[in-house]
């Protein structure tokens, strides 16, 4: 009888994928765990309870990150949708599309350093507004590129049809274009939210330690060798992407396929 090794390898693969997540959760529940101890001295909810203590600032960072990422995702998606239309119908479409890639050809830290002078002049350096504007500047081109495929001859004909039926530009957007692009808008919002959520380089330069997003916090804890809080903040960090992935699969992906 031939034994199939497929289930064995499959189980190994699943374990390897799940291990970092399980280990992070384990670490976040642990304290006083030093070499060569096999198990931690403490295992419980102590770290998670510390979330509520203002000292760690984790809860504050979490909500600050949510506000920043939702703002960036929302503004980049909506403005990207509207402006990508102008680019798509512009005679110099190819040049403008090429320019959209500009923020991605230089490192976010260098990009942040270039921007810092202007942000300082505008008085938004080290402010949450400054971080939102800076992150918008890298999410917005993504949205422009993302929506490029939406605009084509058929969409243009539909817009023209709406106007000959008596509709103006606003009704064309609200009654036809936005409902048509609903799925794409949601996906773009998720993507730009995630770009902002995991952004580190630009945020650390523009935020100058005053704006501590969750991603910044994770690095701070790791630098301090506080692995338990680091693991805890990492657990918080992957929570919104997991929720978004679930919503994406349930409400968007299933409808698109």
């Amino acid at each position: 009888m031939r034994i199939s090794l497929k289930p064995f390898f499959l189980s190994i693969m699943v374990l390897l994928i799940l291990f970092p997540f399980v280990y992070l959760l384990w670490l976040s529940l642990s304290a006083d765990w030093s070499f060569p101890q096999v198990m931690p001295d403490y295992f419980g909810l102590k770290n998670w309870k510390a979330l509520l203590i203002s000292e760690t600032g984790l809860l504050r960072s979490f909500f600050q990150s949510v506000i920043i990422s939702v703002s960036v995702g929302f503004t980049a998606t909506l403005s990207g949708f509207v402006i990508s239309r102008n680019i798509a119908y512009h005679p110099k479409k190819n040049t403008l599309t090429l320019l959209s890639y500009f923020p991605y050809i230089i490192s976010p830290v260098v990009f942040g350093a270039c921007l810092s002078y202007f942000f300082l002049k505008l008085g938004i350096f080290g402010q949450m507004t400054g971080v939102i504007v800076a992150q918008f500047m890298i999410s917005f081109p993504y949205a422009l590129i993302f929506f490029n495929s939406f605009w084509g001859e058929k969409t243009k004909n539909m817009e023209d049809l709406v106007s000959t039926l008596g509709g103006n530009r606003l009704s064309s957007f609200t009654k036809v274009l936005l409902p048509l692009a609903k799925g794409m808008l949601l996906v773009c919002f998720f993507q730009t939210f995630l770009i902002s959520w995991f952004e580190y380089g630009l945020t650390s330069v523009i935020g100058v330690g005053k704006v501590q997003t969750l991603t910044i916090k994770v690095f701070l804890f790791i630098r301090e060798a506080n692995y338990f809080y680091g693991a805890l903040s990492s657990c918080l960090l992957i929570l919104p992407p997991l929720v978004l992935m679930y919503i994406n699969k349930k409400y968007v992906f299933n409808k698109l396929t």
Binding site: M158, T164, L165, K175
Partner: protein, 246 residues
């Protein structure tokens, strides 16, 4: 005349697409325009519909100069070869679209759309989504959506081009019936000889941006540039002289 087109010209770069376009059309009449692809007929329709700006010339509709008016204020509906039904709206809402844009009362919308659905023989299809309809049904919905707002002028850009022969024939008859019932004034662009002769009260031929209007269908048939003579010759050569088809 109800529609008067005066010296319309349009160029894209160095290429002149529409040259000295001049014609007029009486109310409730259909002008068939025959032309090959790229002859400028779509540009001409788009200029009349306000979707493309002419370089020069005037458009007079029912005594008013509409040359500078925006498309949404012209009350001219442009119908494409593609039905362009809005995929997120059902049949009822697709037909009601123009009425909702014009903010008509709900009771009026309900009665007008139901009436239109009956006329288009789509009374059972109101709640269906566009992807659930056949090509002919979709084109009928597209007609209904255009006609329900009572446009002053209907522009049809090869509307039956994507339909099979049988459906095309039924749609041609349906359009003639609807045009008669609603007293529609229209420009019907096609590259199909037979369709051009069948659909128009008047007939014109467009070539390289120039439009030639014929006094009657006999003159159109007699003109060698329209291709009718070639067509007749083809069928005559196919059937040996003195032999009946059946």
């Amino acid at each position: 005349m109800f529609l008067e087109i005066q010296y319309i010209n349009k160029s894209f770069g160095k290429e002149q697409i529409v040259k000295d376009l001049n014609f007029s059309l009486a109310p409730h009449k259909t002008l068939s325009i025959l032309g090959k692809s790229g002859c400028g007929k779509t540009s001409m329709l788009k200029i009349i519909g306000g979707l493309l700006k002419a370089d020069s010339g005037n458009i007079i509709l029912d005594g008013n100069d509409i040359s500078e008016l925006e498309a949404e204020k012209r009350n001219i509906v442009y119908l494409y070869q593609e039905d362009l039904l809005f995929p997120h709206l059902n049949v009822f809402e697709n037909i009601a679209f123009g009425l909702r844009i014009k903010k008509q009362k709900e009771a009026h919308i309900q009665s007008k759309v139901k009436e239109m659905l009956e006329l288009l023989e789509l009374e059972d299809q109101g709640q269906k989504m566009p992807h659930q309809l056949s090509g002919g049904q979709r084109q009928r919905v597209s007609f209904g959506r255009a006609i329900i707002i009572n446009p002053a002028l209907l522009l049809l850009d090869e509307p039956f081009g994507s339909l099979d022969a049988g459906t095309r024939q039924r749609m041609q008859q349906l359009f003639k019936d609807i045009a008669h019932k609603f007293k529609i004034t229209s420009l019907f662009v096609t590259h199909d000889l037979k369709e051009a002769i069948l659909m128009g009260d008047e007939i014109a031929f467009m070539q390289s941006g120039k439009l030639k209007l014929y006094k009657n269908k006999e003159e159109f048939i007699a003109d060698p540039s329209t291709g009718v003579q070639n067509e007749i010759g083809f069928w005559e050569n196919l059937i040996p002289k003195g032999q009946n088809i059946i």
